[in-house]
């Protein structure tokens, strides 16, 4: 039995019910998701955690209609803004993907073309979704880059290799948010960033949520990332939801060893005092 965790006043953005995904290759079949239920409210940051193979990526892909149509059988319902996404055809999906539901994942280098300037890549996304003139797209791209903290002109004109990892990830985020989606799927967004860039990126997501009501489904195996950003965390195990709750509640009191391990609760605790001397020196 799951507790209802969405506050009554929160607007429901995404309602997933009995989502099941089976992969068949003709002879063998494999169930990646066994019928999961969860919700995301407007402006909520929901963390998704689980061992590799537990179904996190499958969940994210099904929310974007990106599961291979020849081998994946999906059932259940994914109600987003009143529509069941699982009933959409490819053409309808193109209106949703990138403009209503967007994705950022781990390696910005994969998402970005090395031979195009950053600003043009953001403008390209806008042009694909909004039928506006090139100049207008560029203006919106400048605004999108400013929203992610890349205000200076030079960022627009830089090639990806001229930017740091953290800046590249912000460009990818600018692309993802260019059309002001309601929901952002972030799949290990800070895994390739160093500690400082990671902290900045998470702060940026927090700000964007506060300013625009952006909702985020955050897949990250980093306990520190989930602890600092997620409003609540959903724990996946072998294609099923094991439990959900706030990070702190699960960390301190989950009855499942699986959850405690995932959240790092079984690691040796380092006391603030042990780290204190270094912090004081700064």
């Amino acid at each position: 039995m799951r507790a209802a965790v969405l506050p009554v006043s929160m607007e429901l953005l995404l309602k997933v019910r009995e989502l099941a995904v089976e992969f068949c290759d003709g002879t063998t079949s494999y169930s990646a998701l066994h019928g999961i239920d969860f919700e995301v409210g407007r402006g909520e940051i929901v963390g998704l955690m689980g061992e590799s193979g537990s179904g996190k990526s499958t969940t994210a892909l099904s929310l974007l209609g990106l599961l291979p149509s020849d081998s994946a059988r999906t059932s259940g319902s994914v109600i987003f803004r009143g529509r069941d996404l699982l009933l959409l055809n490819e053409r309808a999906w193109r209106n949703v993907r990138g403009s209503q539901i967007s994705l950022v994942f781990q390696e910005p280098e994969i998402a970005l073309s090395p031979v195009m300037r950053a600003g043009d890549q953001v403008a390209e996304v806008i042009r694909a979704h909004r039928n506006c003139g090139w100049q207008r797209c560029r203006d919106e791209a400048v605004a999108a880059l400013a929203r992610v903290g890349l205000k200076d002109d030079r960022f627009f004109h830089s090639y990806p290799h001229q930017l740091s990892g953290g800046q590249r990830q912000r460009v990818v985020l600018a692309q993802a948010l260019a059309c002001e989606p309601a929901l952002l799927l972030a799949d290990e967004p800070t895994a390739s960033l160093d500690a400082r860039s990671q902290a900045e990126f998470l702060e940026l997501l927090r700000q964007l949520r506060a300013e625009t009501g952006l909702a985020v489904l955050l897949i990250s195996h980093s306990a520190e990332v989930q602890a600092s950003l997620a409003d609540r965390v959903v724990i996946l195990k072998e294609g099923r939801i094991l439990e959900e709750g706030t990070f702190e509640a699960l960390y301190e009191a989950s009855a499942h060893a699986y959850t405690r391990k995932l959240l790092g609760a079984t690691r040796t605790r380092i006391s603030a005092a042990e780290l204190g001397s270094a912090a004081q020196k700064l």
Partner: protein
């Protein structure tokens, strides 16, 4: 941990410079990726290298793994400077130093099955007959907790954690003396990190393995490493045991790393007191 007087491997004054020659310009950009690095790794121990990205950790790992040639310096292993050996002399030594990468997916040929992948290094090193290679590969799979029934599966049919176990099995099957883990656990969930780490500790005890663990995650190495060397701008700036590092971080970048180590407990307390629910 055996107390051999000679370190297993010693690196002296190791430097690596990348020179960027620009067409139509006299100015070359010189990047000092690694400067004057000295390190001694005792047999059977675990040494960790930590530092921010760009600090030179991976360059060091790749040079010790003989994947890149340093600009200057020596790598002393088995009483010889590896950088002075010919390719032929180096060949049998290569199996003794193995490197595990961060991303197992790109390290494994997707067309080969698990058992073929694990037997492959033996084939390359021309060790044993093909039956013996398969037997050794199966043994390695068992040691790494990979189910025997999965031996004919291909990498993409395994989970990320299992793929990394395949990568480690590939390295172990050569019976290396030194295993270099370059952010090898960073892409794994914490449960897998924990189980693979304990497996590595067990293997270290059983086979006297030596580990060089490269990580940006000071937290995870502190439980596992005997000594931690901190790198900054290509140099080793500090080298201590974990406990001493936390208690007495001297260099500014070490202090930054330790201070950035916000424990989960501290994050939760912080959020609660700031009223961010």
């Amino acid at each position: 941990m055996s107390q051999h007087p000679e370190p297993l491997i010693e690196v002296r004054n190791l430097s690596k410079q990348y020179v960027h020659r620009r067409a139509l310009s006299r100015a070359n950009t010189v990047v000092d990726a690694m400067v004057d690095v000295g390190l001694k790794i005792a047999r059977g121990s675990t040494v960790a290298i930590v530092g921010a990205s760009g600090s030179g950790k991976s360059t060091l790992a790749r040079c010790i793994a003989l994947l890149e040639r340093p600009t200057r310096g020596e790598i002393i292993f088995g009483g010889r400077n590896l950088l002075q050996l010919s390719r032929r002399e180096l060949f049998p030594i290569r199996r003794r130093i193995q490197l595990i990468f961060q991303d197992p997916t790109s390290a494994l040929d997707p067309r080969l099955s698990a058992v073929e992948l694990i037997a492959e290094p033996l084939l390359i090193q021309r060790i044993a007959t093909s039956e013996e290679r398969l037997a050794k590969a199966r043994e390695a799979m068992e040691r790494l907790g990979l189910p025997a029934a999965s031996e004919s599966k291909h990498p993409l049919e395994f989970s990320g954690g299992q793929r990394q176990r395949i990568a480690i099995a590939r390295a172990l099957v050569l019976e290396p003396a030194l295993l270099i883990l370059d952010e090898a656990l960073s892409s794994l969930d914490l449960a897998n990190q924990e189980s693979i780490l304990s497996l590595l500790v067990e293997l270290q005890r059983a086979y006297g393995l030596t580990y060089l663990h490269i990580s940006h995650d000071l937290r995870s190495v502190s439980e596992f490493a005997d000594e931690i060397a901190v790198m900054h701008a290509g140099r080793i700036v500090e080298q201590k045991r974990a406990v001493e590092l936390f208690a007495n971080a001297e260099h500014a970048s070490t202090q930054e790393l330790v201070a950035a180590l916000r424990t989960v407990e501290a994050i939760c307390t912080d959020r609660r007191t700031r009223g961010l629910a």
